[in-house]
Symmetry: C2
């Protein structure tokens, strides 16, 4: 690999954002396309991010009484059909298992599916129906409620156009499913889980989000209400980073989740479901990456610091490595937000490529340590959110006392930068012409560059929404909780409206 | 639920061991059958065991340099076909995806699979071929080796006769996959991972195991050598609890995992794979369960202690709950083998059923606490491995200082008991008639009760092995590493043999 002349990633974000994304995923060693259509291989550096997300969410979920469990990968077709809107929403993207063995083909040159199943099985695209079946057995009395369950699982939605992490046929996620005795408690749970997702996004992934609810046309198939968090990427497009659904009694009726109430009346339970997926990693990349690679926010990073020994003569190696190993131990003995500081030591003798590999991988801190640093009892530190050649010499002892605040400072700086991107490219628009201009690329060569998020009045009609979607490929991302009531005219039809909603192009 | 007269589980192990197993799984709240044929729902109490196993293994794997990653659920049929023995071994139990959507049937009464795939996809029964494909891209030079990867995943093997945890169509497991520059290192890795499994089984699950290798007929399809750990259940049948495979260059050749050696020669890598699954939980149940339910070894238990408040008058409730909450905090502040002590508080007012539920769930310690205990600043403790009515009154402060040693004592007692079961029912047999008697049930009503493990000489021929299997449904479980060389005559044919192997009926 030759040393990059200007930037480590080609093309730059400016030149071709979608292609930059593909290249940065590759260069960062997070994941790669697999030979199976639309599926990805999550490499160790990317999977560590997912494990960190899992650990965080498990802790937060548990604190609210949620317990983990595991339900079958397969959903009988008849289960899918129980909730009409639900099956309608997923029918076009279901992987279907129809056979349970392989046997030699007629001319014995290969194998073909055999042993046809009497009822086809759908690979879960989401698990409301199969989990609902269990809930219907577990719940008999109000004493069994609330039932608060989560599962970590793979799901499959057969996507025609896939993009690694953002939209893959198979992805990893967690799906929480709860059942309650009344709608108020279920609604509170829906909001509470959304708040956990917003906390994860802002305080760990350093991605600011809008919290709000979806319009009817963007709701989860079968939900009464879908709440979501929406973030702005550097290309100003929106990414939905998590959803929390209030399902009313729809799935309880479909699955027969009934209970004896305090008043000894038989009632249907009120259910919720909520999930985030490996898509979050795509969001992380697009929110923070630069033209040299990804940038990992310290509080979620796969690892915090890499130590890069430098020596020119063989006899320098042993003392430098001693110095480095001691430093590593001193670092690992410290904790950063409850986790021991994670340290990499890269002893490969591959020239400048080594440093650039770690830049591309986005590790928060790089320390170069050679005989001179050792003699001065210091380290030569580079922060990933600064220019690649901006390095600081620090006394070893100062570095050790300051590392957690340096990491926090970087975390804060990433969040601030992302916040600025969001506010710089969010605009209140009341004029329909200005609205259309906002979403029309100035440069037809770069259709992806447009205005950003438009906060506009909307009358609430699905037809206005559909027309805008057809004209501009722009959708209502959410009706933000934080928008105050305000009278205005719908950006589509001019009818009265009582609040603004957020329109944007989206992943 | 009425209070059991003699034992909490009906039938007892003695009366009907297979049925006892089904009943104890149900009563312990670990898991249940799902409406999907051969699949299970792992309930929170069972899933917590799996999470504890995951945490332990992650730590042990990481200490040997293994990193976690994730590979696709789907394996193209052509990949499966690359290794002849491999596909032969799995073809009869593959779930096959043939369609990628659903559409209304002709009379619009339901949905049918549509969108036929050009190449069917097999749901991974194991991932050697799909991971091998990635490895072939990741490895180019000896500098890329060893490559040490693990994944936690669900796999599917379409079983005709299923039994919860022990043999289900879908199960959860970890599969480690490594590639090495030479066979010696690969063999060392194979053994090293087996040792980790043996450590998990003995020192955490409290299940003693035999470490050894499989005969050719029992090897993993495509492996050069399969190492295993085998345990004896209370019905004297063997359970394979983990396997570690030395794959030689078979899969490297099938997948093209090649590297430039130090001598600049292109060579095929040497690979290994190794796994344990949710089957371990079945082993745990069958090794330690009694006629009142399961017994969880403290070092792997879903939770360590349950606090059961007892009060007869409403005014007693508040002070008792205060006392209990303080006790819970004092317990949670302590750690047991590196994990905070896990405490349950069960305030349900359901009479004696409450205590019996916890007995059935196998929690190591139960504490009943009422006004009298409070007045005496003491607790009333029951250990799950003792008789249900054997309870000890302990000063609160003594309980707090002694709890970790009480848990360790229980852990040790469970292991000892399981060791005794293994040694009591393992016999060296040299006489063929005695061998056949050993495996013939005395009582034809209870075909499952037989001798146990037979340490016998075997000539090494597949035909002797096959005959014994046909006659007795007894197989060679392993050729134990610990068996010393010894001359003798094959139990099947009388030919010369140089070591004893272990014959047993197996799950």
């Amino acid at each position: 690999m030759s040393k990059p002349i200007k930037t480590a990633i080609t093309p730059t974000r400016e030149a071709d954002y979608p292609e930059w994304y593909q290249q940065v995923v590759k260069a960062s060693d997070l994941a790669e396309r697999s030979p199976v259509r639309g599926c990805m291989v999550i490499k160790p550096w990317g999977y560590a991010l997912w494990e960190n997300i899992q650990a965080l969410l498990n802790k937060k979920f548990r604190a609210t009484g949620v317990k983990n469990a595991y339900f079958p990968l397969f959903i009988p077709l008849s289960f899918m059909e129980k909730e009409a809107a639900h099956v309608e929403g997923f029918a076009k993207e279901c992987a279907v298992v129809t056979h349970h063995r392989l046997e030699p083909n007629a001319d014995k040159t290969g194998l073909v599916p055999a042993g046809a199943l009497s009822e086809p099985l759908v690979i879960r695209p989401t698990s409301e129906t199969i989990i609902g079946d269990s809930f219907s057995k577990w719940v008999t009395s109000y004493r069994d409620l609330p039932l608060l369950i989560n599962q970590w699982a793979n799901v499959v939605r057969w996507e025609m156009r896939t993009r690694i992490f953002l939209r893959t046929s198979e992805f990893l996620w967690q799906e929480g499913h709860t059942a309650h005795a009344d709608s108020k408690e279920a609604l509170e749970r829906t909001t509470r889980m959304l708040d956990i997702y917003a906390d994860l996004a802002e305080n760990y992934l350093a991605v600011p989000v809008l919290r709000g609810r979806k319009s009817d046309s963007e709701k989860f198939p079968g939900a009464v209400e879908t709440l979501c968090i929406e973030a702005m990427m550097q290309d100003r497009k929106a990414l939905q980073m998590g959803t929390s659904h209030f399902l009313g009694q729809n799935f309880a009726k479909a699955s027969g989740i009934k209970f004896q109430s305090v008043l000894e009346k038989e009632e249907f339970a009120w259910t919720t479901s909520w999930g985030v997926s490996t898509r979050l990693i795509g969001g992380l990349i697009m929110a923070h990456g630069d033209d040299d690679g990804i940038i990992l926010p310290p509080r979620i990073a796969s690892s915090h610091v890499v130590l890069l020994p430098i020596f020119r003569k063989p006899e320098e190696q042993a003392p430098v490595m001693d110095y480095i190993n001691q430093l590593a131990q001193a670092l690992q003995a410290q904790s950063y937000h409850g986790i021991p500081i994670q340290v990499e030591i890269d002893t490969r003798d591959i020239g400048g490529t080594r440093n650039w590999e770690w830049i591309k991988k986005g590790i928060p801190l790089r320390l170069e340590i050679g005989p001179r640093d050792m003699a001065a009892d210091s380290v030569f530190m580079a922060r990933r959110d600064k220019q690649p050649h901006e390095k600081t010499s620090l006394k070893r002892s100062d570095f050790l006392t300051q590392i957690t605040s340096i990491l926090d400072e970087m975390q804060e700086a990433l969040l601030e930068k992302a916040r600025k991107n969001l506010s710089d490219h969010t605009k209140e628009i009341d004029d329909p012409k200005a609205f259309y201009d906002f979403f029309t690329p100035e440069d037809t060569e770069k259709p992806e560059i447009h205005g950003g998020f438009a906060q506009c009045h909307w009358c609430g009609s699905a037809s206005c929404e559909a027309k805008i979607k057809e004209d501009l490929s722009v959708t209502i991302r959410c009706i933000p909780f934080d928008n105050p009531p305000e009278n205005g005219q719908c950006i589509g039809c001019g009818q009265d409206s009582k609040e603004r909603v957020v329109f944007a192009k989206a992943y």
